[in-house]
């Protein structure tokens, strides 16, 4: 167990009956970084986070969180981590201030500093005007800010955020990420799950999960450089027909339409990726142009989640 990692997991597995929700997950989350979990619904993001904070018992494997084995003595760990649930879990029938007060009391935050800390959070998360409002009547963005304020109130070393932005508008998401960067700069390690590519791109490092399996991890740049795929971008007057034609080429791993453009993934071993696409389009008599492009995170995601599907079929 190395002190430079906030979380280290080896072979972490969770089974629910016959379903394997998380399979043989290895994880190294460096301290002070924002680490992302990218994956579709049901990929095991929430289950992993819940195992890491001791809410679920792993079926196999082990994990060390802040040098403490989970689910060993989770009680010692609780004061040191902050957790933001996917679903709003604060008390809807208590006011913003009362919720913060409750969290301060339950974490035994020093009594004399309590109100200063709450005021500070109300100010930072822009909730000053809502202090007397019942939490249940807040907007999505406000609820999310309150949840974050409650998760960080006791100044945890590690913050676990389970799809924190799934219910808020783009502006709130931007503000939220600004707040996360600020926390990371102050030394907090943050593990955040998401299914948004743009959010994943902001993380220092991320793991891509697909049906319980970690299919790739690294910094966003590393991932983009090591897809093992050529990315061919096709601009076509009739993208739908072009897509049908390209999909029939045996070497093509996947075709995704983005507006009038198509992103075509072709395994890296191939010598002339643009050539075969061009040839296919010409022989079909379509007006289209293929150029080589560099991989975006979305391409990475498509590339790494594709493989097991092929094998399965």
């Amino acid at each position: 167990m190395s002190p430079e990692f906030a979380i280290q997991a080896r072979g972490l597995t969770k089974r629910f009956g016959d379903l394997i929700a998380v399979s043989q997950l290895d994880l190294d989350v460096p301290r002070g970084e924002i680490y992302g979990f990218l994956g579709p619904n049901g990929s095991g993001k929430s289950t992993t986070i819940r195992m890491l904070c001791g809410l679920l018992m792993p079926s196999d494997g082990n994990a060390f969180v802040l040098d403490t084995e989970v689910p060993g003595d989770a009680r010692l760990l609780k004061p040191r981590i902050g957790y933001m649930t996917q679903k709003f879990s604060l008390f809807g029938d208590m006011t913003v201030y009362e919720n913060l007060q409750f969290i301060a009391e339950i974490y035994s935050y020093p009594r004399r500093d309590r109100s200063t800390r709450i005021e500070e959070l109300l100010e930072r998360y822009n909730l000053g005007d809502q202090r007397k409002q019942l939490a249940g009547t807040l907007s999505g963005g406000q609820k999310q800010r309150l949840a974050l304020a409650c998760a960080v109130l006791h100044r945890p070393e590690l913050l676990l955020l389970d799809e924190p932005t799934s219910a808020v508008d783009p502006q709130s998401r931007r503000d939220f990420w600004a707040a996360l960067f600020r926390l990371a700069e102050a030394g907090t390690t943050i593990l955040v799950s998401t299914h948004y590519m743009d959010e994943a791109e902001r993380c220092h490092r991320l793991a891509i999960l697909d049906r319980g399996v970690k299919v790739a991890d690294g910094t966003p740049t590393e991932l983009q450089e090591n897809t093992g795929m050529h990315v061919v971008e096709v601009t076509a007057a009739n993208p739908y027909h072009a897509q049908v034609v390209i999909a029939t080429i045996p070497d093509v791993a996947s075709v995704t339409q983005l507006g009038v453009r198509l992103r075509v993934l072709i395994p890296g071993a191939h010598d002339d990726p643009t050539g075969i696409v061009d040839a296919a389009l010409r022989s079909a008599g379509l007006d289209a142009r293929a150029t080589l492009s560099s991989a975006t995170l979305e391409d990475v995601f498509v590339a790494v989640t594709l493989k097991p599907r092929r094998q399965a079929a």
């Binding site: 629910f16 819940r50 904070c53 001791g54 809410l55 679920l56 018992m57 689910p71 989770a74 009680r75 609780k78 004061p79 981590i81 957790y83 649930t85 679903k87 709003f88 879990s89 604060l90 008390f91 809807g92 029938d93 208590m94 009362e98 409750f102 969290i103 009391e105 339950i106 974490y107 035994s108 019942l134 409650c150």
Partner: protein, 366 residues
């Protein structure tokens, strides 16, 4: 110290939420008052003024005196006179009377002759209470019913004051009713307590905080103990003002007994709460406890008259012990020291259920 702070945090939260939950808050006050009024006024086993018609075929001095005596019991309300028993049957059938009294023309002779019933009571047996009352009327010093030969001496004039106007049901009912009301509200409050947090998603947040299972349980129970005490005061006040129900023993003893009983019920509710998956399930389970608490606790039917298995079940229920305590303290002027067995059982029950709930409640989701 930190533990106290956490218990206090849960406690304050419960009170705040309760204050904003009008329905539950209404239940605290409304339910006891409503039940007191319902049981106090509607459940009345002193049946009076049953509609009665007479077919006096004897029409002698003795028979007329008998009818007068009958009327004076206030059990019957003479609404009419007919000539034949057949007419009585018709009136019974169409529901215009509940009791028909047939006095045969040889009434005077029958009264002296102990082998035959002097008169016949035609009773609407479809209502068990009326039938019961009619059976009690047989205890009047006439050999009434056709079936059994009169066993009573022919004391015509003296009617036993079986239905003493002073005999009031509320005095008997209220001490037991206290237990029923507290069982219903107390179990229900805590039965939904944990499940509600689970359903609203608050539980995932709570179990991620440093609060321990025991702290959570205690923090949730304490406010309701106070509410239970408040309800008790309310029930006693209503009982006193409306039904003139006395507290003959020590009021302090009564509160001590209630404390043990309330703690037992709250702990049981918490235990239910750790077992139920939804609030609806929690309510179903509450009813499952509530029904035997009404039927087997000695509140409705005398405990001694129940089959042995029912008595065992009854002994397990907190309400059975509480009813013994309240009847003892309020009516027989017993002290809590004399009733230590029941208090001990309640405290033990509370401890076991509370421990069970804290053990069952794991701070995990799987």
């Amino acid at each position: 110290m930190k533990s106290l702070s956490r218990i206090f945090a849960i406690l304050v939260k419960e009170v705040r939420q309760l204050r904003r939950d009008r329905l539950t808050f209404g239940m605290v006050v409304g339910l006891p008052v409503m039940q007191m009024l319902l049981f106090g006024y509607a459940i009345n086993t002193d049946v009076r003024n049953l509609k009665t018609a007479i077919a006096d075929q004897a029409d002698t001095h003795l028979s007329r005196q008998f009818v007068t005596e009958l009327a004076q019991t206030q059990v019957v309300n003479l609404v009419g006179s007919v000539d034949t028993p057949q007419q009585l049957e018709e009136l019974l059938r169409d529901g215009s009377i509940s009791i028909g009294v047939h006095i045969p023309h040889d009434f005077d002779r029958r009264v002296v002759d102990r082998t035959r019933a002097a008169s016949h009571l035609l009773v609407d047996g479809s209502d068990p209470t009326i039938l019961g009352v009619a059976n009690q009327l047989r205890a009047m010093p006439f050999g009434f019913d056709a079936g059994s030969a009169g066993t009573a001496a022919p004391q015509l004039i003296e009617v036993r004051p079986y239905y003493n106007p002073e005999r009031r049901t509320p005095v008997n009912i209220v001490p037991g009713l206290m237990g029923v009301i507290l069982t219903m509200t107390m179990i229900l409050f805590t039965a939904v307590a944990i499940v509600r947090e689970r359903e609203r998603g608050n539980l995932e947040l709570l179990i991620n905080t440093p609060v321990s299972s025991a702290e959570l349980m205690i923090g949730k129970v304490v406010p309701y103990i106070l509410i239970g005490m408040l309800q008790l005061a309310l029930i006693l006040a209503v009982g006193r003002l409306l039904f003139d129900v006395p507290v003959r023993g020590s009021i302090l003893d009564l509160y001590l007994a209630a404390f043990a009983f309330i703690a037992a019920n709250l702990a049981l509710g918490l235990f239910i709460s750790t077992a139920a998956r939804t609030q609806f399930q929690a309510m179903q389970m509450t009813v499952f406890i509530l029904l035997p608490s009404i039927l087997l606790s000695g509140f409705m039917f005398p405990f001694e008259g129940m089959p042995l298995v029912a008595q065992w079940l009854g002994e397990a229920l907190p309400n059975t012990h509480f009813i013994r305590l309240t009847r003892g303290i309020m009516l027989r002027e017993a002290s809590i020291g004399e009733l230590y067995r029941d208090v001990g059982y309640l405290l033990g029950f509370a401890l076991v259920a509370m421990t069970g709930a804290a053990l069952r409640f794991t701070k995990r989701l799987d």
